[in-house]
Structure formats: structure tokens, C-alpha cells
Amino acid sequence: MKTVPLCLLTIVAEAILKERLIADVRSAGAKGYTVTEAEGEGIRQRRVGEILGSNIRLETIVSPEVADRLLKLISVEYFERYAVIAYLSTVSVIRGEKYV
């Protein structure tokens, strides 16, 4: 199968940021995203349960440019003040031209 190499950006963040992150992802030019519920622990407190909620794990397949734009935005807007982690990998997407 013909596939297109694209960037898979994964963001794990505290759940209250969900709608803001989705808005950011869309305005940065991503064509879609997938969100799953998660819990976790990092340098900030452990995140489980309802009060102050858990985490979300957002994945979006984007072009390298959009990925870079999003990473910058996240590192300026959220990194210092919120519990968030973001990382990139390369994946081969079928009909990948739809996502750039």
C-alpha cells in the first residue's frame, strides 16, 4: 500500500485543557485529532479521579510545519503553567495526502 510519512504529535495534558487544546490544534491547521482519557503522573501530582480530573491524551497527524507550530504554541502557552507533555514521531499514513 502506498503510504505518506507524516508527523504524529501526541500531547498528554490535564483534562481541563481539553477544549482549549482542541481549538489550538484546529487553528494550527490540523485536519483532525483523536482524544483518549488517561491518567498519569509526572513532575506534578498524580492525576486520577474527578476533582481536578485526570488527563487527556490527544493525537494528531499533521505535516511537519503544523507540528512545529503546535509544539511552539504549547511550549509558550502551557508548559510552564500546566501539566503537559508533548512528543513527536513519524508514521506512515494511508491516503496521507488528506491530512496535510
Binding site: 479521579g49 474527578e50 476533582i51 481536578l52 510552564e80 503553567r81
Partner: protein, 346 residues
């Protein structure tokens, strides 16, 4: 095996120790204690998150509906006085909390404002517990109290967040190497608070309850009234688990916050009871209003503060609201406000 009355009709002339014992031996308090205990012994016990959400939706909606049905019997005249003092309380308590924390506790601007937002708002479960308590000692509160609850929920959060934003931007101007982050627009925050889950359910329930009246209430009463105390008992188990999670943070929170979490409610409760008596509320009404003023929000306030003042340390505000003030009010605070209210009303 000694047994005590709890939440049963109780003659009003009862001494304070009895009242405390009534309060301690209720399924509500004991379920909370069981939750805390389960955390202390590191039990795997935990309620599914969706059950927590479902129960809080139920409690808020039931509160609103029942309040609405009662409201349909009340006149505007009877409510306006109490409503006024409630709004006054919503403006006073965040300011007093902020000043105490900032000046006496030497907390940062963000932390002071963050904690103040919690103490300026109100805990629905404390409200309910106070209502149950006053009913059980034979001094039920006025039917329109849930309306006051909705009036008290938002202003306090808003005022505290505004103080925080204002002070922080003043501080940033004085020291202009900050990260230069734009604050979130006030409209957005207001929208979130006004359309929050608890506002929708409380106010929506109030309106529906008022519209359908007694006859429309009847068929849904088995769910929204019959199950109320039992489901609240289960909810308090979860609250106990959440508070138990926070107990470990008590040390980090420090002695000042421990004192604050107990004394500030007593001050706010006294002011609440006093203002309530001025507005002509009954002893029960004054007690419930006092408990509202004394309580700290842990449903509406935490996400609002986390969103808008992320610099504030959640350990401080969650521990204070959930692991100090909530159990204090549940166990000792409410009976105290009742005693105080009796003085003011006689």
C-alpha cells in the same frame, strides 16, 4: 452497643453535645469517615468516575427541582431580603479570605486568590448536610434556600479571580520580565461559570420545579426526594476517599492553612448567621446560610482557578477546602452555626 438518634426529628431544646453526637452518628458523616479510613489503610476501594459524576448531577438537579417546588409557594417579598444578604456574603467572604491569606499567611498573590475563590463560593454538599441537620433538630430552613445557594456560588469565585488578575498584572508591571502571558478574557471565564454543570442543573432544576409545582413533582418524587439521603451517603463515601487522598498533603499545606481552614469558616459562618437573622431568616435558615458562607467550594472553584490562575498551587486550595474545611463543617461546624444562629435569632 449504644445507639443514638440521627437525622430524626429531635426536640429543639437539646444541648450542644447531643447535637454533635447526632451529627457524628449519621450515615452521612460515617460514610465520609469510611472513605477517609479506606484511603488511610491504602484500600483499593474507589468509586467509578462516572458514578461520581452521575451522583453529583443527580444531587444538584434534585436540589434544584425540590427547591423550585418549594419556591412556587414563596413570595418574592419573603426572598428579597435573604437574597440581598446572600449576595453581600458572596462579595465579603472572598475579600476577607484573600486579605487574611495574603497579609497574615504571606501566601503568593496567586495562591491567596486561588484559595479565596474557594472560600468565596459554596459547597453544595455542606449546604445539603446543613439542611438535613436543621431538619433533624426540628428547625427546618426556609424552602427557598436552594435559590440562595445559586446566588452564592458564582460571585465569590469571580471576585477572587479578579483580585488575583488585578494584583498580578500590577506586580508584573512593577517587574516586567514575566512570561508576558495574556490573561484569559473575563467574558470567557464568566461564560464558563454561568454555563457550568452545577449552574445549569441548579437553576434549570429551580425553574422546572417552579413550573411543574406539586402535582408535577409527585411522580418524580420517589427518585428526586426518596433516594436523596441514600445517594448522598454514597456520594459522601467518595468525598471521604477524595479527602483521604489529600490528607498526605496536610503537612505540605502547613499549620497556617490548617488554622485558616477552621477559623475562617467560623468567622464567615458567624457573619452569615448574623446577616441571615437581620434578613429575617428562621434559626434553621440562618444555620444553613451560615454553613454556606462558611463552606468552601470544591466543585465549581477548582477548575475555574486551575484554568485562570494556574500559578496557584492546587495542593493548597484542594487540601484546605476538601481535607480541612469540609470535614470540619460536616462534623463540628454545622452544629456550631446552629448554636450561634439560635443566639442571633432569639
Amino acid at each position: 452497643m449504644f445507639r443514638v438518634l440521627s437525622f430524626a426529628k429531635y426536640p429543639t431544646g437539646v444541648c450542644m453535645l447531643d447535637v454533635l453526637r447526632i451529627n457524628l452518628c449519621s450515615p452521612l458523616t460515617l460514610s465520609f469517615a469510611l472513605g477517609v479510613f479506606a484511603r488511610l489503610v491504602r484500600s483499593e476501594l474507589s468509586l467509578p468516575r462516572d458514578l461520581y459524576t452521575a451522583l453529583s448531577i443527580y444531587l444538584l438537579f434534585a436540589l434544584g427541582l425540590k427547591g423550585g417546588v418549594e419556591l412556587s409557594h414563596s413570595s418574592l417579598a419573603a426572598i428579597s431580603g435573604p437574597a440581598l444578604v446572600t449576595i453581600l456574603l458572596g462579595c465579603l467572604t472572598p475579600v476577607s479570605a484573600y486579605l487574611v491569606l495574603r497579609k497574615m499567611g504571606r501566601f503568593s498573590i496567586a495562591d491567596s486568590a486561588g484559595i479565596a475563590a474557594h472560600y468565596g463560593s459554596v459547597s453544595a454538599v455542606t449546604f445539603i448536610a446543613a439542611q438535613q441537620f436543621t431538619a433533624s433538630v426540628g428547625a427546618p430552613a426556609e424552602g427557598f434556600m436552594p435559590t440562595l445557594l445559586t446566588l452564592l456560588e458564582i460571585p465569590g469565585i469571580q471576585i477572587a479571580l479578579a483580585i488575583g488578575a488585578f494584583q498580578m498584572s500590577a506586580a508584573a508591571k512593577a517587574n516586567p520580565d514575566g512570561t508576558g502571558q495574556v490573561a484569559r478574557p473575563v467574558r470567557e471565564i464568566m461564560h464558563e461559570l454561568l454555563t457550568s454543570r452545577s449552574m445549569m442543573l441548579l437553576v434549570g432544576g429551580l425553574i422546572i420545579g417552579t413550573a411543574v409545582g406539586e402535582s408535577g413533582w409527585k411522580p418524580v418524587q420517589p427518585v428526586f426526594e426518596g433516594l436523596f439521603k441514600g445517594l448522598l451517603t454514597i456520594f459522601l463515601l467518595e468525598m471521604g476517599l477524595a479527602a483521604g487522598n489529600r490528607l498526605g498533603d496536610l503537612k505540605q499545606a502547613g499549620l497556617f492553612l490548617l488554622g485558616f481552614g477552621i477559623l475562617m469558616p467560623i468567622v464567615h459562618g458567624t457573619v452569615g448567621a448574623y446577616l441571615g437573622s437581620l434578613a429575617g431568616l428562621s434559626v434553621g435558615g440562618c444555620t444553613v446560610l451560615a454553613a454556606m458562607a462558611a463552606s468552601a467550594s470544591y466543585i465549581a472553584a477548582p477548575p475555574a482557578v486551575r484554568m485562570t490562575l494556574p500559578e496557584a498551587n492546587p495542593t493548597f486550595y484542594l487540601t484546605a477546602a476538601l481535607a480541612i474545611t469540609f470535614p470540619f463543617n460536616l462534623i463540628a461546624g454545622i452544629p456550631i452555626y446552629y448554636e450561634i444562629s439560635k443566639r442571633f435569632c432569639s
